[in-house]
Amino acid sequence: MSLKNNQVAIVIPAYNEEKVIGRVIKKLPNKLDVKKTTYKIEIIVVNDGSTDNTKSVVEKKYKVHLIDHILNSGAGAATRTGLNYAKKINSSYVVTMDADGQHHEKDVINLIKEVIVSDKDLIIGSRLIDASGMPWYRILGNKGLSIVTFLLFGIFVKDSQSGLRAYNRKAIDSISFHSNNYAFCSEIIWSAKKNNLKISEYPIQAIYSDYSLKKGQSNWGGIIIIKQLLKTRFLALIHG
């Protein structure tokens, strides 16, 4: 199997993001130069059964690969589809990011550069290394979920729920997860730990607008994540 070694895939799972998805995609570069090598950037948008015009906004205006989920399956399922497609097209590196505009394109580029030059397999863009600008209830919720992740899976990262992550080929090939909702963020970290991957965090600055705060996870959503993580842990105990 030959690898297109100079390809980086950016996976954007999207659900009802017609208002911002255009701007998010427009800001992303088509190619990137790192250490005298030019990397082609393939943008993959997974439209997770949106009921608004997300699909038409993406397919009419921008040169991206659109994967359309027939059924709304959740952020985890959409991310998994994007990662598996990136694997199929032999991308060397993959970055996942949110479609709600909370990630700065500068951080996306920095993360790509970091995963290319460093020896890390999975780099998590952490909003909690410098949490200025993040609402206090979000800090509380995210820290709480990081602690739950540590208690259930024995691995601590400051921001276990960040959607901005970079993977190298080794990580793409070895990580597997089954959660369809936002619990996938913690499950990926667990899978990386089980596969002895090198994980690190990279400081990023999240952009909090009224829109992204409305679209993001509520603390009630955190309870659903904990329930899913407990289920995942329980099933792993039974099946190994």
């Binding site: 994967i67 027939i70 399922a77 598996n84 289920k231 190994g240």
Partner: protein, 85 residues
């Protein structure tokens, strides 16, 4: 095998090895001095255990089917996107 699974089976092993000591301890503290179980009690406990075991088995099967369905949905979505591209 994960650490939790190893711990679980080690706990079972220790329970078997020290069964006599545990029984002696319970006996000395009059914790075995209870009324005997009736046949109905034994049937009830057996029924509860069987139901619990069936629930876990069905839960696992349901989870497996959910994963298969999710995989199928993913493959289908990628296949259609490639055809349309």
């Amino acid at each position: 095998m994960t650490f939790a699974r190893i711990s679980f089976w080690v706990a079972i092993l220790l329970g078997l090895v020290f069964a006599e000591d545990i029984y002696r301890l319970l006996f000395q503290n009059n914790l075995t001095d209870t009324t005997p179980l009736s046949l109905a009690d034994v049937l009830l406990v057996t029924g509860v255990m069987l139901t619990l075991s069936m629930c876990i088995s069905l839960y696992s099967k349901n989870e497996f089917l959910e994963r298969r369905l999710s995989d199928l949905h993913e493959e289908l979505s990628i296949y259609i996107s490639k055809r349309n591209h």
